[in-house]
Symmetry: C2
Subunit: 358 residues, 2 copies
Amino acid sequence: MTETVPRPTLEAVAALAGVSRATASRVVNGGDGVREPLVERVRRAVEELGYVPNQAARSLVTRRHDAVAVVVAEPETRVFADPFFALQLRGISKELTAHDNQLVLLLTEGRDDHARVGRYLAGGHVDGALVFSLHLDDPLPGLIRRAGVPTVFGGRPGWNDGERGDVVYVDSDNRGGARDAVRHLVGLGRGRVAHITGPLDQTSAADRLDGYRDVMADADPRLIVPGDFTPAGGERAMRTLLDHCPDVDAVFAANDLTAAGALRVLREQGRRVPDDVAVIGFDDMLPVAEQTDPPLTTVRQDIEGMGGLMARLLLRGHGDRVTAQAAGEVAGAGAAEEAGGGPSGVVLPTTLVRRASA
Amino acid sequence: MTETVPRPTLEAVAALAGVSRATASRVVNGGDGVREPLVERVRRAVEELGYVPNQAARSLVTRRHDAVAVVVAEPETRVFADPFFALQLRGISKELTAHDNQLVLLLTEGRDDHARVGRYLAGGHVDGALVFSLHLDDPLPGLIRRAGVPTVFGGRPGWNDGERGDVVYVDSDNRGGARDAVRHLVGLGRGRVAHITGPLDQTSAADRLDGYRDVMADADPRLIVPGDFTPAGGERAMRTLLDHCPDVDAVFAANDLTAAGALRVLREQGRRVPDDVAVIGFDDMLPVAEQTDPPLTTVRQDIEGMGGLMARLLLRGHGDRVTAQAAGEVAGAGAAEEAGGGPSGVVLPTTLVRRASA
DNA sequence: TTGAAAGCGCTAACAT
DNA sequence: ATGTTAGCGCTTTCAA
């Protein structure tokens, strides 16, 4: 990996253009306060030599890196099962690219890796971090806080508010979306609306359950069955449901994958969808929701948009800590900002997408 | 993103330990040639101050970055549809982490981005690159070659050999795997074995088709139907197949997703699997292959292993260009090395996994 | 074995 | 508006 041909330095550019290194630097960094003829000459020299600034040298003096870490905890879980993560990554990448920032990906597998990530973030290699997939007891937030790196979390963090409140996150309106879904089911005249939950140690799953409860305040507890965001979990849950409550006439599944599993069992058991049982999912994961039989009515969230927003929030916090106020400003219309103490975040709206299953 | 507390420098460590900066540096970098008592003192000082080396300063002098770029072209395509990409990424990440390298992710969306990637790679920000998802006419290889960055490609590149042969890639034995699958079908006594292809501008799809042809040299051409690696494509193809060749009794699908689509149509049309029609997929994408009805017999490839191998190949090329020879050595048992001119690569073996569909 | 000193390539005061 | 100069924090000769 040796550099075969030594790359040209600013010095070389300056020499060729017949100016000082300082002037050459100014031109390379935008050219403010340099007169046109010189700018032109430097530009030409840059072109001719194929000059590319040495980022290491630049960082050494500016103490900036134009790089952001994306930390994904426990990729074994959900991350690799559905395209969720990939879509967020795409949103992030687009935004970072637009601002000339690099994306440093940090995947962690269990506890040991957390220390490594902490060290890396503390090492001042990046200007900020985007952090995903935190569970309730995750030690990462603490490490990150100590590292002193500006951070935006993906999804509402689940830890206690004891951690003090200057935590910024971006999330979908899981609770509101769930409410919409369940209301739709009720509006269809369904009286026995069940819910297959996600893993409740993730806030997204917990929030969706809360949304269900908002509408079905006094539902039969047997109508709430645990799932795990996978099709297999959805199948299991649906079997349990059919067993305990054969009169169920609607199911709100915590995500599309779960709904897909439930649909399979319903068909297998000869229940017609939506005639006998109406089904709604969550996510609007296209490859899933459009492929099911029948196509899935579901709650859409703008996953790619979430990623982009996270990046924007982080970048705009430049030179400062990322604050909830800034978050609100950047998020713009459609997003709701949480009030009061505790973690503060930007919550993106969801929309119900009607297909054939409900 | 201001540095609130100035991080301790090597200077500070040296001072606290009562040694010169040079000695402190030696200890931090392994401690060779420094006597034990001093090593100990420096270590303690590092600990006490929470010293972390400034990577920018280090890179400036060493001209190394301990960072590798992962370039993924056209994420809109396959990349986000199945967990393939995520698994490779995981394999890469593990390997890089084990060697204290960082992973810089470069996602591209179309032509404009290629220039950006080229510039980045040419900028000497990373020690090497891992490149994925190249299509036949991709301009990226040229840019990369010019950038002079050591590179390993994921999957056999499809461009002409005119580009000269010192290209290293890692791939699965797509052709051999396909042969195994089709032979298995034939061994089951099936005489009308069809193939639903992938997008043939990707070498993986082309190679699988070649493997099919190796066994079914004089098959009815109508038994070969184009697909696109998606379930929808698989459905379409299966319908066409049933239309044109109602007597088909086996299908080798180019990947599991395609097979899943085909299975759906078969069930819908009342054909029993595997009794009437046997089906084999490719990939052994667990969440897909185990969830289908019936569970899918398929060709397994070690996706995560491919990623890891790519990273190992690149890292071991350290200080030198990555060569096919090195590739062979690193790959070890089970891998076949391509001989002769043209792109040279390491080909990982596949295995047939029998489930219920064939 | 250890230390002194010379840069790596760049930006940012400060002078002019 | 442009040039001069002093580092940024580190590794690496070279001397001792």
